[in-house]
Amino acid sequence: MAIHHGRGFASINYPIGMNLGGDPSQALVHSTPDGKFKVTLSSIDLGQGIKSVGRQLAAETLGVPVEDVFVDTADSDTGPHDMGSFASRGTHRMGNAIIRAATEARAQLLEAAAEELEVDASDLVTDGRGNIHVRGAPSRSISVEATATAAQFNQGRTLAGRGIFLVPLSEVDSVTGEMTPVSSFAHAALIIDLTVDDETGEVEVQNINSAYEVGRALNPRLVEQQLIGGAWMGVSHALYETTEPNYPERSHGPIDFNHYLQPGPGDTVPHHISVLERPAPDAPFGGKGPGEMCANPVLPAIANAVFNAVGVECDSLPITPEKVLRGIRANGGARPQGRPGA
């Protein structure tokens, strides 16, 4: 009986904002009479946080406090068209649409304020705390609230914005596969430490060290949510999950969560994350959506670590104890490979 330690590495990139459908997103922004802003979309929040990210993008772009902005999604009567929340397009496509809508609304906000202050709109800046003032002269100011009231009740002006973001459709060439598939790439590199029990084939992940390059962490806590949950899902995909345990045969497909295996709360793995930010041109504030990619490097890193631990090639997922045990048997015993990078 022996427990073998293994270390494995993998690095990946991930396409952000797939571009094979020519898929647009739209956003609308408008102000209430007291200078609070509503953002209407038809994005879907599946937990990834588009309501929250959209709100931050709108508030930053408008130059108003985040508490004064709310995102309303998704109602097909009020939210303009959006292709959907998939393919790592939400932050990229909708984020850009929101920035454009908020930019237009901001321009009107500043014009309305300029009229009240009797200055040129191009001389005005926002302070992010609900005020607009002349650049370099904070005393010549008007609140966003007063501006909105004046705009709507005195000036007869809307403070609203429309945004659409469309990356035109990329054709795919039939012979070379030439295409323009994506807007940018996110990146990740990851090291897994695990143990393998050579009597049972059981694998236990001990530690994850990762580096994720996300363009810009628009909200670091939301990014961390995705990276932690995504790494968990990566462990789950690598070691546990399948709807068809005997693929390609269809027997013994699970129909409940007791039989569809996933790591439980007692299987959490210490995870040290490094976040890198190389802002992507054309992405909102440079941010790339981290949600989809973060599970991917975990799968091969685990397989590589299992090989490192016991010398078994695990090229078929999930890496069940049975597959590891069969591999050890086929090799006539565990064949530890020695610690890499030492």
């Binding site: 937990g47 998704a74 659409i164 469309l166 990356v167 039939s174 390059e213 390609p248 802002p279 078929s316």
Partner: protein, 637 residues
């Protein structure tokens, strides 16, 4: 968990001076979540709500001889039993909304079933129990048919036909090929020059998205002859479009509400619940809920498909990968859904984040008698990355190299040419590798530790689109007739040669210009410094201290690896050696006469013809009977 932010990296491209961006602002939706007041689709109460359950196939593949629902219709609580004949446009394919692929999947099966669990009838009743009892009372007479469950078995000549719309058991690409090709350089010649050949096969398991909230929709009559649909969809307007199309109603009558969804992970794009619930609502005039139970979610809901990938690498002793060939199979199950698209998405991802001068792939969307697969987190990429990164470790062992060093050596850098013929930009693989190696004490050589994504890219052969060998193998139906092997260049088909620099189109990866000037944000307010911002960057400033850490290929290697006309065998006729831009999507065997080597950029006429033909397709799509009044995009098969 702990997280560190490496603000030191790429600091010259980024300003972090914001009020709200980059701040840990509390989630907008969290108070609703912790008080249980967030409104998910099932959190809407309706008087007289009806429930729907489906009669489902117990067979992998069977002809439906007859269906008798008379007993079920008489049972207590049953309001309506709906079949395929009740659906105005019963057959659909999800991507018809972007004009991609042919309608191939019935909402409710009428003539035959192609997988266990396929719905045949939808029973609408006053309670779930009454609907379940009625489902049990329906009698379906089946004639079982032979079935196929393995992707490669399905491509063989003797395999049963899974999906009559695609009788070769593979999706038709460009009305020409049974797979999507990628051809970049000359893999065969490069393999012959490589010091090592490393091969491997990798298999992804089918995986359930497993959102804790199961998929579903509630459709209720609204005032003004409209229907309100509360839905778990991940794509609101996809669902509107599919419903408008299949019910043949104006989208003006559809009011879809969603946006607060209990997890999706890709499994809530398929838009099957909305049309069925809305159909039942129209048929009964009552609110109807169609919600999957967990068993349906797990076995009837489309999973991440099983994918199989084979990789063959040609590697030099120093670790440079000079050629990589892929053969990929997406197990679509019985119907297309999104798998046809995933094949192209994965093709655009090859050969992973590495710069390899010769790449080829054949990727297949294969029909088998299993639950149709669909999107899941990392769709089209997760399995490829598994394959590539397993393979990179095997390559490292073959050449006796540290696995991270191997990746950094081959990593793509700004300015490198990618296999899909676009320049790499905004790369950060090397820095990600270095960051994780550094904190775990994984020792890297000085060269690898100093390497940078921003330097050494685009040099020599890695900076250009190479002269490329092409082929016309795998035409639709050929494989079924001849049993042709699936690997690239595995047959005796005609070879062609495209000149260095050949590009067939120049589509932008960047967004449309703002509609009006005042929608365009100032770059400085978006946090980009210098060259990093919008629009597309030229190459960033060279970091003088960074080492290229990349053995620059001698120019001899760079430019003579695939000499024109030097391939084994008779030299090709001139007509096959050049492939002008305007032939995109035309069968390869009939290229129009064209001066060789005319760069695509000098062919405005061709580009115009392109966009015109796209418009034509779009209009034709819109006018097709049964197509939704609005459409979500335009593209070609």
């Amino acid at each position: 968990m702990n997280a560190e932010y490496r603000k030191d990296l790429f600091a010259d491209e980024r300003s972090d001076d914001f009020d709200i961006i980059g701040k840990p602002v509390i989630r907008q939706d969290i108070l609703g979540h912790v008080t249980g007041r967030s409104k998910f689709y099932d959190d809407h109460a309706f008087d007289g709500l009806l429930h729907m359950r489906c009669v489902r196939s117990p067979h992998h593949h069977a002809r439906i001889r007859s269906v008798d629902s008379s007993a079920a219709e008489r049972q207590g609580g049953v309001v309506r039993v709906l079949g395929g004949r009740d659906v105005p446009v019963n057959t659909n394919t999800l991507l018809s909304l972007i004009n991609f692929g042919r309608d191939d999947e019935p909402l409710l099966a009428t003539d035959k079933v192609g997988y266990v669990g396929q719905p045949i009838l939808a029973v609408v009743a006053t309670s779930v129990r009454a609907a379940q009892e009625a489902v049990d009372a329906v009698k379906v007479d089946y004639e079982e048919l032979p079935h196929v469950l393995d992707v490669e078995e399905a491509l063989k000549p003797e395999a049963p036909i899974v999906n009559e719309e695609y009788p070769n058991n593979s999706f038709d690409y460009f009305d020409t090929y049974d797979h999507q090709k990628l051809r970049f350089g000359d893999v065969e010649t490069a393999f012959s020059k490589a010091d090592h050949i490393v091969e491997g096969e990798y298999q992804m398991s089918p995986i359930e998205q497993a959102p804790i909230e199961t998929c579903g929709a509630i459709a209720a009559p609204e005032t003004n002859d409209r229907i309100t649909v509360h839905t778990s969809t991940q794509a609101l307007f996809f669902s509107v479009g599919v419903t408008a199309k299949q019910l043949d109603v104006s989208s003006a009558r559809l009011h879809f509400i969603g946006g607060t969804v209990g997890g999706g992970f890709g499994g809530k794009v398929d838009s099957h619940h909305e049309p069925l619930a809305a159909l039942a609502c129209l048929a009964t005039g009552k609110p109807v809920k169609y919600m999957w139970d967990r068993a349906e979610e797990m076995q009837v809901g489309g999973p991440r498909g099983g994918e199989r990938w084979r990789i063959k690498d040609g590697v030099m002793r120093d670790g440079r990968i000079i050629a990589r060939a892929f053969t990929g199979f997406f197990d679509a199950g019985a119907y297309t859904r999104l798998s046809s698209y995933a094949v192209q998405k994965s093709t655009g991802h090859l050969p992973g984040p590495y710069s390899i001068p010769n790449v080829a792939s054949n990727v297949y969307c294969v029909f088998t008698n299993r639950t149709p697969s669909t999107a899941m987190r990392g769709f089209g990429i997760t399995a490829v990355d598994f394959a590539i990164e397993r393979h990179m470790d095997k390559v490292a062992r073959a050449v006796g190299m540290d696995p991270i060093e191997l990746r950094i050596l081959n990593a793509y850098r700004d300015g490198d040419m990618k296999a899909h013929r676009r320049e790499a930009k905004n790369c950060a693989l090397i820095e990600s590798c270095q960051a994780v190696a550094q904190k775990t004490g994984w020792r890297l050589s000085a060269d690898a530790a100093r390497a940078s994504s921003k330097s050494g890219g685009g040099v020599g052969a890695l900076g250009v689109i190479p002269e490329t060998v092409t082929d016309d193998e795998g035409r639709i139906g050929e494989r079924r007739r001849s049993g042709l092997a699936p690997e690239p260049f595995s047959g005796q088909g005609t070879r062609g040669l495209l000149p260095e620099g050949h590009s067939s189109n120049n589509s932008s990866a960047f967004g449309n210009a703002p509609q009006r000037e005042d929608m365009e944000a100032e770059i400085e307010r978006l946090g980009f410094i210098g060259a990093a911002g919008v629009p597309p960057t030229p190459q960033g400033p060279m970091d003088e201290t960074a080492s290229s850490a990349r053995p620059i290929a001698p120019s001899e290697t760079a430019h003579t690896t695939h000499p024109a006309g030097a391939r084994g065998g008779p030299s090709l006729p001139a007509a096959y050696t050049q492939r002008p831009a305007s032939t995109i999507n035309q069968p390869f065997a009939q290229p129009p006469a064209q001066a060789p080597g005319t760069p695509a950029a000098q062919q405005p006429a061709a580009a115009e013809a392109e966009s015109e033909s796209a418009t034509t397709h779009f209009q034709r799509g819109v006018r097709r009977p049964g197509v939704s009044r609005f459409i979500s995009g335009s593209r070609r098969r």
